[in-house]
Each structure stands twice: as C-alpha cells, then as structure tokens.
Symmetry: D2
Subunit: 296 residues, 4 copies
C-alpha cells in the first residue's frame, strides 16, 4: 500500500493523487514571484516552489533573499492558495523555514547532511528529499531513514538527475528510479525535470516521461521572465509554456491511474481573484478540467 501524504485541505500526494509543484528557482523580487505564483496557480499547479536560501556552487552567485524571501513566499501562498515548498540548507534555519512554508525541501547537495536531516525530522511538516547527484537508491533511502527515525513519517523523494558523462544535459535524469523506488518504499516519488535536464526545451518531454513512468508529482521551474532570472533561467519555463505542458499532462495523468490533486484554497483564492463571486473555482482557461481529473 503506497502512502498518501496529506499536505493541505484537498491536497494529497502519493497513492492515486498527483501534484505539480511549480514556481521560480529563487525568490528574486516580489513582483516576479507573484507573477510566477499566479501563473502556476492559474495553470493548475498544486503547490508553489521557490528558493529563499539558495545553495549556489559559487559564493559569488546570488545566494537568495533569506528570511525576506520566506515572507514573500508566504504572501504568494496566501494570494494563490498554493502551499509552499522551499529549501532549507542550515539546521539553524529549520524553524524559521517551517514557520513560513508547508513543505521543507532538502536539496541534492544536502542529501547526506545528517544534522539537517535530523532537524527536519523533528518538525511536523512534510519533507521533500532530493536525491544526491552521486547517490544510489540505497543511500537515498538510508538518508530518508534519518528523517523518519526522528518521528517525521512524511518524506517525499525527488529524483532530479544524477551526474552523467554527457554535457548534452546538465544532469542525467534517472527515471527508472521511479519504479525501482516504488518496489522498495511506500513513500511518494516526484521528479524534477528542470534540474534533471538544465534545459527548458527538454522539460516538457521529460515531465511527460516522468508521469508515464509512474511519478506521483513533478517539480517544475517557471519564471515570469527567464532571460533576467538570477538563477537557472536556462531551465525555467515561461508561463505560457508551462500552461501548454499542463494541458498535455492533464490528458496523461489519468492514463497511469492517477488523479490531479489541488488544494481547496487554490480554487477559493483564484475564485476571489477572478471575480469575487466565489463561483468560479478555476479560471476560464481551465474550464475543460473535469471533476475526475482535478479533485475539488
């Protein structure tokens, strides 16, 4: 029996419930964040992603807005009704991140940062644990055990590509990890085709492939203006590209025995924004969503 993690009213991940988490790589400005958040909400995403604390290869790169970024994420969440998933890198920041976000992300570089894993294991929030670029499946599951052992059962595993030898893609997305994990663990598995390829032009194909492989969700980078992004603009979809991908995913998801999951608040929030009437759960361009595909 595969586990369903309850994230917010109406929003479950795992079992037969499928969730798309989308948003910018990093929180850069209030305007850019809100634009991305509203676009992904309108296109049917179930969660908002965005980084306030950014693990950058070089200390000279933009490092994120920190706590100010967390506040902006919380504001975007309130406006769109989408719960937030955001990365925490430092055990000393776990509490403040947990105050502002619904799901705590442990990034690829920290998959074996054991003090951090223990600290997120002590929170009562779901944890998104990305695979390390050189981690075997066994090592990844052992890292998840650090969280579980502290009493937090809600771990979501995220495949995001391992180190490969061909520079054609930034990482080598290992989609076979999805069915392999589903044999070995009851935990949900999501896929990040944005980091897994490093190339926006490859994201739609690999997002669809991840769904067909049986993933429980996707983590996709969307930026209102990728050409000015401070972080990973090359791999971010534009809002229109994301909406197009979402319309294709809606047809695919039911074919693999999943149903689309979205928070109740997303409908309410967008309804208010759209008309203040409370009657339109979903903006007009989503009118073709039927009840089977998208849970209320």
């Amino acid at each position: 029996m595969r586990k369903t993690i309850s994230i917010a009213p109406g929003l479950g991940l795992g079992g037969d419930q499928f969730v798309v988490m989308a948003g910018p790589c990093a929180v850069e400005t209030r305007e850019l964040l809100l634009a991305a958040a509203e676009a992904v909400a309108a296109a049917g995403a179930g969660m908002l992603r965005g980084g306030a604390f950014k693990p950058r290869t070089s200390p000279k790169s933009f490092q994120g807005l920190g706590v100010e970024g967390l506040r902006l994420l919380a504001e975007a969440s309130a406006r769109t009704g989408l719960p937030v998933v955001t990365e925490v890198m430092d055990p000393r920041d776990v509490e403040v991140v947990a105050e502002h976000a619904t799901m705590l992300q442990v990034g690829s570089r920290n998959m074996q940062n054991f003090p951090l894993l223990r600290e997120v294991g002590r929170q009562r929030k779901p944890v998104l644990l990305k695979r390390g670029a050189a981690a075997t499946i066994d090592e990844w599951l052992a890292a998840a055990e650090y969280v579980l052992q502290e009493g937090n059962p809600d771990v979501v595993l995220c495949e995001r590509g391992v180190r490969g030898f061909d520079g054609s893609t930034r990482y080598l997305l290992d989609l076979a990890a999805v069915p392999v994990l589903q044999r070995r663990t009851h935990l949900p598995v999501v896929v990040d085709p944005s980091h897994g390829t490093g190339d926006a032009g490859l994201v739609p194909a690999m997002a669809k492939a991840a769904v067909a492989a049986g993933a429980d969700g996707l983590l996709i980078e969307v930026h209102a203006a990728p050409e000015i992004a401070l972080c990973d603009g090359k791999q971010a979809l534009r809002p229109a590209e994301f909406a197009q991908l979402m319309s294709e995913l809606r047809r695919l998801v039911p074919l693999v025995g999943r149903r689309w999951s979205r928070p109740l608040a997303a409908g309410q929030a967008t309804a208010v924004d759209a008309a203040g009437s409370g009657s339109h759960r979903i903006p007009p361009n989503l009118g073709s969503f039927d009840d089977e595909v998208i849970a209320p």
Copy 2:
C-alpha cells in the same frame, strides 16, 4: 522535418509513425522463436527482433545459432508477416545477415566498430544503431555518419542505457537523449527498455516513459518462457505481460502525436494462418485497428 524510414509495405518508422519491435533476446529453438513471434504479432508488434549472432560478455556463454538462427528468423517472419531486425557483429557476416533480415542491428558494444559501420553502410537495408554504454550523443551521431557516408541514409538510433553507478538497474536509461537527438538530427529514435533496465518488472514503466518522451519506437524483449532463456531471461516480458503493455501503449501513443504502424503483411499472414487452422490467433479486439488509435 523528421525522417520517416520505409521498412515494409505499410510499415514506416519516424515522422508520425510509431513501431514496436519485439521478440526474444536470442534465437534458441524453432519452437521458442515461433511462439514468441506469434505472440508479439498477435499483440500488435510491427517488427520481430531476435539474435542469431550474440555478443556475449563471456566466451563461455551461449553465442547464438548463427546462420541457422537467421533461417529461423526468416521463417518466423514469413509466418507472422513481421519484418526482422537482427544484430550483425562481424563485417564478414553483413551480407548473409542482409539476405535474411530487413533491418541490420549494430549493437552497443560495436557502436564504434568502424569497419562494421562502413559495411552496413554499403547495404540497402535500414540500420538500427544502438548507443554505446559510454557514448556521448555527439559520438553516437558521429558513428551514424560512418553509415550515412557510405550511402545508406536509413539509420535508426536506439537508446539502450548508459553505464551508471547504481546496481539497482543494469544500465541507466537516458530518456532525455530522445528530445536531445530530435533537436540535432532528423533520424528516428527508438528506445530499448529491456537492456536499459535489465529487469522485466521495470520494462512497462520505462516503455511508457519512452513513448511519453517522444520516442519513435520501442525494442522490447519477449520470451515464451523467460525462466529457461539462454540469454537475458531476467529482462524478458512474458507474452501476457507484453500484451498488457501493448494495450496501455495504444492509449498513450496518440497522446504524443504518433500513430501505430504495422506492416500490411502482418494482417495478411495471420489471416492465412487463422483461416487454415480455424483458430483465431489474433484476438478480435485487434481486428478493428483503426486509424486513430487502434482501439478495439
């Protein structure tokens, strides 16, 4: 404009035409080969695969039946109407293989066997060129150039997994290679999830993922009795498993803008057989293959 390779009357590969090639890893006995061939024909495959010359890691392993295996493949082809794709390893065998088969396979270990590539380039038969386990996309395309340069334009590229570091799967199937190749070449791209995972239990998920990623076809190992296979039994689907996968693929293929392609002779061959025996080897629900999906 992506290239469509015409393989047999009614059967094209590439462009919007999607082909499943299926059959045993190796030709072992006449009975086992025919059983597999009829099963894959009945389930809707477009081509029969099977090895007469087997590149085995150890000289102590079964090396294939050689020319006798080619004759059996030709017989199975005549009975099922499915054209045959089979591997050639030695430049001195290219002519005899070309006499018996429709498509010449150059295996992963021989991707940079340049004398062999030149020899298959001199034939007027389509060539299936598998990716080497350590080959970059650029090296793979350069290998294809050896075939093209000899005057043979009909090269199909086959992703079959690269060497990875995690023993959970035999190879690491690099599905992002599919959209990467589609940017760089007009040649069709197929995927072999059987070698790409080495594990029959993972083949259905990865076959579906390959289709969703945009592959033009699949190469799938099917054995009438995997438990007694002399070669790679662990990765072969049973006929019933293959039929189940095919029914799922039929729903998926049209979602990515492809249509199912099968040789005209496949219908005729089975019709003759069926009429002679009074038993319908091809189930009725495939009789109504229509242009849209092949739905029942």
Copy 3:
C-alpha cells in the same frame, strides 16, 4: 608559487613539505585510539586523524562519540605530539571541534554544505576539504572559495575518490586531479587512498601512486584491530602494514621533490615516551631516517 600551510611548529603542508595524516576512521575507545595514535606516530606520521562526529550512510550505524571523542583525540595528540585533523558536520559544532583539533575536516558529503563552509571559514584553523563524490574540479574549487571568502586562507584539498561504475573498488580514485589542481590553484592537495579504494589491500599501491602523482600528503586509515572496527574496518591498515608502507614512502617522497614534514612535538613526545631522556626524537625503529628525508 604553491602555498605552504603552517600547521604546527616544524610541520608544514604544501610547497616542498609532505605530510602523512593517519589514524582510525572513528574514535571508538580510548585504548584503541591511543594504540593507533602511538603506532602512526612511531611510524613517522605527521598528523593524527580520527572521527568523533561520523557521517554514516545509515542512522543505525555507529555515529561517533561526539565531544567525548574530541577529548580523546586531544589526549592522543598530547601523548604523541601529533596535531589532530577531525571532521565537523554541523555548523553548530564548529567551535567545539576547533577547540580540540588543529585542522577541521569537511567531508565529502558536505563539500557543498555552504553554511558549514562559511562557519569553518570564520575559524583560524586550517581546513581539509574533501572532494564530493560527484564534484567536478571546478565545483570543488568553488566550494573552497566559500572558506577563503570568509577570511580563512588555509584550505587543503583532499581527493578521496569519485563515484565510479565498477564495484571492484568503493570509489574511483582520480589521481589526475592532483596535477590538474596544481595547475589551477596554489592550495595544497592531499589524497585519501583509504576511502578512495575502500580496500586495505589496495591502499599501499594507491598511496605510492598518489605520491608519484605529486600529492602534498596522504590521509590513511590505520586501526589497531581492523577486524573489530565499528566503521570501515575493511579499508584500515594494521600498524605493521602502515609501518611497511611508510618505509616505502620514505624512499619515494624525495624522488618527487618533496621532503617529509613532522611536528617538532612529535619527536619530543615520543622521546619522552621512549626513554624519558629527551635525546631521541624518533624511536629506534625510525633510526634509518636521515636528515635529508625527514626535516627536523
């Protein structure tokens, strides 16, 4: 001009000074630690290694003695005169580790733990930065920049193997990283053949190879009784094996333009232990060391 880091009176690392750091993987008991420490001091090591905080793949494995382990390391250092290098995993532990040790090790799993790198960058202690198992040379140097940028210029880079595809060795020791780094940075480079192979039987060959490749030092696991080790016993040398290796290294080091470096205190400490006379800096079995090979 390559940098020499001054570690203790008489002990420099880099430039023409070569240092062997040796000791157990983990501090387990006082007796085992002192036995290993005295053995490596007697054999000519320049520093004592040993883990008090252990980053273990599984939470069920021995996690180290923590602060008690640090105290034992400090005691072993006082007895042998060897400065201690030990790992720190948690930014909150950096200060207590810095109180007890001379050199702070950042392990492979934490190479991109940026909060930790910043914290060790704020200490006035040399830092040993191990390469991540999937890290390129560029990523590794960028990680070192995090330490340097905080004002700590004393970073030693440690190659310890990257993830390879062949289970014959635990990791794939990338010795070409040594001359590659020496082109790109002035920082000293040491090699850990113990983790780099995971196999005590391969350590002597790879230790000698590292010296011949131009490494400025070695990090070698030595355990008084590997068969009862709680951590990585398979890769630990016994004291007699280590002494034999050291005698071979002494002949090799001068051939590549380096001289053996040891702390002044090592001689004094062992002298007291050996005879209480203060006259023998080096125990009798090291009598063949000449002044050219081992600097005073």
Copy 4:
C-alpha cells in the same frame, strides 16, 4: 606467479620486467615516424607504438595510412631495433597487421568486438587489450578470455581511462585497476596515461603514478611535432619532454621491484647507426644506465 611475456630477444613484459612503449598516435609521414621512433629509442623505450589503422570518432578525421603505415612501422622497427605494437580494428586485417608488427593492439572501442578478439587469439603474437571506456574489470577479463580461449596466452591488459564526468581530463584514469587486476589475473598490466588524460601536461605525473601503482609498463604518445599532428597532438609529448620523463622513471622503476627491459636489437641498431654516423644518438646522460636496470 605473475606471467612474463617474451616479446623479443632481451625484451620481456611482466614479472619483474618493465617496458615503455612509445611513439606517435598515428603514422603520418615517413619522416615524422622515423623522427619519433629514433627519439623514443634514444630515450630508452622498449617498443615503438604507432597507428596505421585509426579508429576515429568521426569519418571525416584522418583514418590512418593502412598497409602503407604498417610498412613504415616495419622500417622504423628495423632502424631502431624496437618491436612494434599497432592497432588492428578489422578481423580481415589481422593477418596483414601480424605480418608487420610484433604485438597486436585491440583498442578501447573494440574491447568487446568478439570476432576481432577471436581472430587475434588465433595469431601467435602477443595482444595488447585496452580497457573499454565503460568496461568493468570483470568484463575486461572476460574479453581477454576470448583471446586466451583461441589458444593465444600472451595478453597484456592496458588501462587507458574510463568515462568520467569531469571534462578536466579526457578520460578518468583508473590506476586502482592495476592492483585490482594483479589480484585477479597473472597477465601483465600496462597503463596509457596519454589517452587516460588527453593532455600532455598531465602525462608525466600520471606515468610516474602508474609505475608507483605497480604497472608492468607504459604506453606513451610521443610526436616529433605535436602542433602539426593529425591525431591527438594535444596529448603527445615532445621528444625532449619524453626524455626528461624517462630519466625520472628510471629512478622510480627499481623502487617498485621492477627492472627496465629493452630488446637486444635496440642496442645493436643504435650502435650500428651511431657507429655509421659518428654521432651519438643516445645522449651521455643515459650513460649511467647500468646492466641491472636497463638491458644492453
């Protein structure tokens, strides 16, 4: 007991005998080949390497001079007294290559070209079998079995780097393969630091490391004028660089229990040439070669 392969009078490889094989990547012109051959003979090489049939990634690259190249190699061998090792790629060329060369090289791309392995196994000439870029040690030894099984016991294994993820070097030289192989097989093991790094500046360090790791020999590219080489000029040493490396290797080889092996004919050839010309092609700094280390 490790095997010694007798290659020519005075020249053995394996056991305690160490051999350097050197020369250009490809035979390009008679003048360049003879210049390189004489330079490597003068510097103390035991065998001449050079490619007549070149396996090039692209069909547009220089493919070698073929049989004309073999004739030039034979001439260079006669002039220098150095036996020739050269690559054969096509089973149909094995006989002609065997007529002109002393040792048959099977390249990395053909490690699992089984028809070729069988054909060289039928010759009575030693075979140099390079490791495939994605081959495990087990697969490599199984490939050697194809040669041995045909009745040819004289296989030399050549580590030349596996596919790695860091573009800092062309391949990742796996020196731990040397001691791993020495546990598992009695066959000699040599190392090719030229292909293993792809970078002339790294060759000396890695050549020395290979010796220290216990290799039985080296394969080193030397070109009289690397800047005009048609193939792999970037990784070729100039004659003066090679001579400098050889002088360092001479000090290192005896430290790991080996003695330098050279063919009797090398001394005679150079003696004749030298006597005829009045000029000493072997520089005085080789005068210190003693009988134990370098055979006359």
